[in-house]
Symmetry: D2
Subunit: 338 residues, 4 copies
Amino acid sequence: MPMVTGVTRERVSVGVAGATGYAGQELVRLLARHPHVRLVAAMASSAGSPQRPLPALARVWDDDVVPLDLARLSSETEAVFLALPEDASADVVPALLERGRRVFDLSGAYRLRDNEQRTHWYPKASTLPDGSVYGLTETARPALPSARLVACPGCYPTPALLALQPLRAAGLVRGDTVIDAKSGISGAGKTPTERTHFSECHGSVSAYGVFAHRHGAEIEQELGCRVTFVPHLVPLDRGILETIYVGLAPHADATAIAAAYERAYGAAPFVRLTGDALPTIRHVAGTNFCDIGWKVDEAGGRLVLVACIDNLLKGAAGQAVQNFNVAFGFDERAGLWA
Amino acid sequence: MPMVTGVTRERVSVGVAGATGYAGQELVRLLARHPHVRLVAAMASSAGSPQRPLPALARVWDDDVVPLDLARLSSETEAVFLALPEDASADVVPALLERGRRVFDLSGAYRLRDNEQRTHWYPKASTLPDGSVYGLTETARPALPSARLVACPGCYPTPALLALQPLRAAGLVRGDTVIDAKSGISGAGKTPTERTHFSECHGSVSAYGVFAHRHGAEIEQELGCRVTFVPHLVPLDRGILETIYVGLAPHADATAIAAAYERAYGAAPFVRLTGDALPTIRHVAGTNFCDIGWKVDEAGGRLVLVACIDNLLKGAAGQAVQNFNVAFGFDERAGLWA
Amino acid sequence: MPMVTGVTRERVSVGVAGATGYAGQELVRLLARHPHVRLVAAMASSAGSPQRPLPALARVWDDDVVPLDLARLSSETEAVFLALPEDASADVVPALLERGRRVFDLSGAYRLRDNEQRTHWYPKASTLPDGSVYGLTETARPALPSARLVACPGCYPTPALLALQPLRAAGLVRGDTVIDAKSGISGAGKTPTERTHFSECHGSVSAYGVFAHRHGAEIEQELGCRVTFVPHLVPLDRGILETIYVGLAPHADATAIAAAYERAYGAAPFVRLTGDALPTIRHVAGTNFCDIGWKVDEAGGRLVLVACIDNLLKGAAGQAVQNFNVAFGFDERAGLWA
Amino acid sequence: MPMVTGVTRERVSVGVAGATGYAGQELVRLLARHPHVRLVAAMASSAGSPQRPLPALARVWDDDVVPLDLARLSSETEAVFLALPEDASADVVPALLERGRRVFDLSGAYRLRDNEQRTHWYPKASTLPDGSVYGLTETARPALPSARLVACPGCYPTPALLALQPLRAAGLVRGDTVIDAKSGISGAGKTPTERTHFSECHGSVSAYGVFAHRHGAEIEQELGCRVTFVPHLVPLDRGILETIYVGLAPHADATAIAAAYERAYGAAPFVRLTGDALPTIRHVAGTNFCDIGWKVDEAGGRLVLVACIDNLLKGAAGQAVQNFNVAFGFDERAGLWA
């Protein structure tokens, strides 16, 4: 794959499949105004879907949302963003790759490399395609330009991995890892259910998926260790904040922690280090930033990390576009900055 | 119907049909601890419904919710509270009345007296039963002891009527009446829909049912004049606040307004007059109160009324129990006060 | 004032005063990434203010917020955006104009042209400067290129005027005008008060300022008629939705209403007409759009308009930037679109 | 202290000091309608405080809130409830005890028995009074009838201790204990601050007090082991949900866990065990219940507990009244049930 730059080529033709869900709408919003993108079509999640307008995107993307059309994606686009249910993604990805499209998949279908794990959680994703990259942009940068399929990370793994990987790589933490995640309700998708009914969520907090959430498997794959991961729904729309409890390695201290983060993210445009001023969802909602703060108890050998993102941007559509930018050689911030 | 009192008889046997909805659960919560009630059964909305537990009511009402059973309601209860969909109510009410039960109906089925109006909005409610009373407690008190069917008012009409009736009766207002209502989402019921999906409601406000809401017909029936009524969903769970715009009659002034309200509600246990300190939902949520405040522009001939209630209590289950208390001769506050 | 274009000149040097409030932060966020702006300084609201960082804007604007410095604004900028308290604005505006700066004032100080009205609501704004324009962009476009001072409209007047002016201009409405406004809490500013304390607002709605809100005077000035305007706080952060009640003129009908709006806003980049699919805050939050929908009761001679905006964007910082774009000859959408 | 019962004596004369805060208002609301209480006075937090009405309590408690008056509390009441700032409590408690009043203190002043710990967190509480009891009702029952001072537990310790104590007593858990707490904003009190400003909290979650919250010391005192406790503010008004991570002791399993809880709380009127159907805030808000659920990973040796309460009831005013009921020999549910 020859590197292309924003200078040498103006716009890449792209398509979006699954444009009516929350992440899909964010993709359309971002791509319709991306300086290096020509958005060819916003498609529904299936061939039979009736066309639906997206009133929230009037004046931004006024075209119809058309039924899913693999032939058209293959013939008219160079890159395809998929915001489909995982089973649909598992179906569509091989076909698109075969026809030479580069695919940015927001579903979990091809995130897990171990076949047993993957088919346990995503039964239809039987074979991991060649040229797959797990697309946590900050660590995937070298691999993205040649990637054929970018499996964009889940919303919960994104802040957990960004917070933990630099410390684990530097050998600064040890012992059990507890990840207590608080997520806005948009993470549960656009389909009305009892769990996401306003009156059930408002004024409430609930834990779910304890010891049984596929994002736990994804985090464990990338970290290479066991984690205890408990997601919660909190009464807000967009954003995830994770509080992470780990032990401090014997030689580790606050200075080493800060240095490890600075090394990892000093030049990263979308990771902001807040030090011991802990971050809040409010400052990342509506942005592609991941904010990370931490508190060190040197005497007690404990460390608490707090990381947060907008689940639909850095946790979904934003990170996919960030991956696209790196993959195609554009400024990593293109279309995400303003 | 001989008057009975809290002294002479201890407990009335009652049943609830439609116990799993939001208003139904409130009924069970109130009646299970009502000092003059023996709650015989909490029933689902239909005969075929599977039994469901009500986890929110553990330790308050631990019995199963049983399928709807008219025979049992007729043989084991004296009074029945219905929190059913309007069509189900329209079916069930005549059967229960025929068997001699006193019925407190929370649905709209039998609120409209005009046959054309009623069958327009509630097609299944073809015949208005004898002994029906429109149960806005504060005005229905004299009629309740002999009522067979109490059609409890809708959530939107309740504050509008409590605020407007004393002024209209005293001839203090004139001209157009605009009622702008803001309702919490629980008013839309327990069934998940796109409209009540958390992410669609959070951070948003929307108007609906403009010129086409059956509660407008109900308000117009009781006031005897045209109103322009627009309901809105606001992002909270429980509560309605209505802002009402009317013209001041030539001779009317702030003193006369206050006097009319004081006459109407000075002795009403559940109407609180806040004068020109306008009321807020926060102070009525979780209570059976209706708070009413007002601002008078004497020079401009204008009047703004603000009235609010908890839609599930004074707007539904609470007012039904209040009606029951008056109908059976108990203290109006029994079971509603603590 | 010679017209300048995005082609002939690249960037205008601008300063922001009052950068720490909610509207001020939005200005910094927008201007720091505006393609035709060089943001020289983000200043506090007063000379003595200590410098404060803006953690929410890390990576967007990392400079300190410096104390207010009129000399520097005069010497280093061409245009100044003021997000100051009204009294501070009343002080600062004449000084900046005298030194030749073009001023975009977000406060109310110089919105009212009538001296008596203006000094009633804004006592310090004794003299209306020459070259002042009331900056509702959609109607002010012709006047903006030569404006010295642009008094940007209040958050409440913006949707009311955009919804009502085309209909009044076309003679399609008559009779009383009632404007019932529901505003998110950010409209009350950043200073903690009992009214804006989370626990007082959550789950509640409250009316305030009845017959006594200066935005009522502003709306009446622009419409040239009396309005009954009642603002409410609703439990959300950003956004205003206004429900407007007017009478239909004898010859007016749904077709004429739609045509009047289409004429007024068919080419306006930031007004979206939703027809009888009424708009909601959710679709405008985070954008500079004003969405307008309407319902016509031809038989009853009534009209209900619903208009909504993001109060910090189209109701404050966004409209100020939009005015700047028109004033300096840039694309009206520059810096506001992505 | 002779046991008294609801049969032999009708009403205990009580006073409330600190009646205008959120917990204080709940006390007034509960005590004004308590069947065995005569509420003598609702007092402010200091002698100089101006009298303020409590509009939310109209028709429930219509008396003025009077300035704090120790003499009157001593002469006219038998029991006093204190909802004062901790320093004020530290001052007032010894004086009231000396004059023979029984005191139910909602502040933290006298919760910590270790002098060093107590004076570290509550410097004014220099001496722990004789006859003090840490009033977690479920474990304090035997001690309450003879208690002079009941130090009612903090809102955060209450669910943590109720969830952990039975398991620790049975030797079913081991290893580190992590308590991740999510609290509604009312827990931060009634004084407006930047942290509790609506726009700062809405749509956000934030951690605070990491390794430095006095409730951590309180939990450690009662459990006798180190805990890692991190509180968070979540955007709701009332309620706390705690997710607790512990290791499973070698012999422990799901059956043993359930049995330990059943033994501890089978007869407790205000603890509800939800098993592996995890509890949510929604079901406890507005009640005095503590709901506890759990998930066991037997193979992995891990246990996740979830416990939740209404912070102003079981976490403050409700538990104080529950303690009062036990202390005076009334039904534990009196005044809390309906």
